[in-house]
Each structure stands twice: as structure tokens, then as C-alpha cells.
Symmetry: C2
Subunit: 126 residues, 2 copies
């Protein structure tokens, strides 16, 4: 039984969840190699569509994600990655989670504070 | 500020999370109309790629998902849907979550029990 990478043209969505708090931190895509590297290295690794290359999360920021659990769904076309962040703050915009905007009365509102200084962390925006 | 449905050809991945337990229950795709219906009706609604049509989760099984929160990520190309399931068991295979397989020693293992009788619930497999 394998992940179905072909269904969506070689990329499968991977949900990243904080293993301790349960918070959903981000969603990114994995190709076969990113998946194998994630399993092998226990560092969450993705395929960046915008940069068209493999992307070890934290390679630039130092905010790597230690993988402590991997699950797949009924159709084997999505992955759930349980992680322990080595540094708080997964989002390149400075927030703990990329999901920092909440729909309130029909408008997106930023509903939390930043947890690190993203401008000091990223010399070049990812 | 709007969801970026164009980036991936009109469909955006939506992560469904139990608002009470934090468990990730499923991942499905939304198009613009599924998104608008989800916001409007507060029932999680998706676009089924296999059936090529709008899909109100639970329309067949009765296991609808009451939406209590909606978040989007930094790139506005993913949605996090916080729900209260009206009936326990989101997966059409009988499990609480579609993510019922865990990677253990390099093999996918079913790591939990079914929570409802899916054969009695679905006359025709979805």
C-alpha cells in the first residue's frame, strides 16, 4: 500500500500538525522524493511549487520540523505529518501557524500575534 | 482578500479538524461554490473530483459537519475548517477520521477501530 502520487500529477497535500498541541501548522505538497526524505530523515520535507524544488522545511530559517508520526487517509492521496517544531513559528510571516487568518463576519482577520521576527530570520523572503 | 482558487486550477485543499478534540478528520477539495456554500450554510461542502460534482458532506450518510470556524493560510491557497461532527465517524470506511493508517516500521497499519457500520450507512459506496 503506497501513497497515490499519480492522482494529482505527482504531488500530494501534506497537513502538518503540532504533535503536542494538535494545532494545524501548515499545508504543503510532497512528491515521492520529499516523502521518502521525510520518512528517512525525520525532518519534514516538501516540494515547493513556486521554487520548483525540494524544500527541507527550516533549511533557511532554522525552524525545522521533527517528524514524530505519519498517517495517510482512506484514499492514500493525503498525508498527515505530526511534528515537534524545533523553534516556535512555522509560518514565514512570523506566526506560529500559517493559518493565522480567521473568517469573521465575512472578512479575513488576523487573529493572533507573531511569535518571532521573520524579517531578521529570513534574509530573502522564501 | 480572497481564497486563491486559480493557483491550483479552481480547487483548494480544505483540512477538516474536529473543533473539540483537534483531530484532523479529512482532507477534501473546495471550489468557489463549495466554499461559498460552506460559509453560507455552515455545513462543510466540497467538490468531489471522482464524481465531478458538489458534495455536501453527509448528504448520503447523514454524517454532516457543522462548521464552527474557518481559517486560511498565508498564501490563501488552503482552508482549515473547524467542525463539530453531527454523528461520530467522518470516513466512508467506518472510521472517526480518514487518517486511520499510521506508518509503523515502514508499513501502513490500521491503528484504530471503526466507530460505525459503514456498510449499513452507505447503500452505495461513495
Amino acid at each position: 500500500m503506497k501513497i497515490d502520487f499519480e492522482k494529482s500529477g505527482g504531488l500530494v497535500p501534506a497537513i502538518v500538525q503540532d504533535a503536542t498541541t494538535g494545532r494545524v501548522l501548515m499545508l504543503a505538497m510532497m512528491n515521492q522524493l520529499a516523502w521518502e526524505m521525510t520518512v528517512e530523515t525525520k525532518k519534514a520535507t516538501f516540494f515547493s511549487r513556486s521554487r520548483n524544488k525540494l524544500w527541507v522545511k527550516g533549511e533557511q530559517s532554522g525552524h525545522t520540523l521533527e517528524v514524530v508520526g505519519l498517517q495517510t487517509d482512506c484514499d492514500q492521496d493525503a498525508i498527515l505529518v505530526q511534528v515537534n517544531p524545533t523553534v516556535k513559528g512555522v509560518c514565514h510571516e512570523g506566526y506560529e501557524s500559517c493559518f493565522f487568518r480567521t473568517l469573521e463576519d465575512g472578512e479575513w482577520q488576523v487573529t493572533e500575534e507573531k511569535v518571532y521576527d521573520e524579517q531578521a530570520t529570513y534574509e530573502v523572503k522564501p
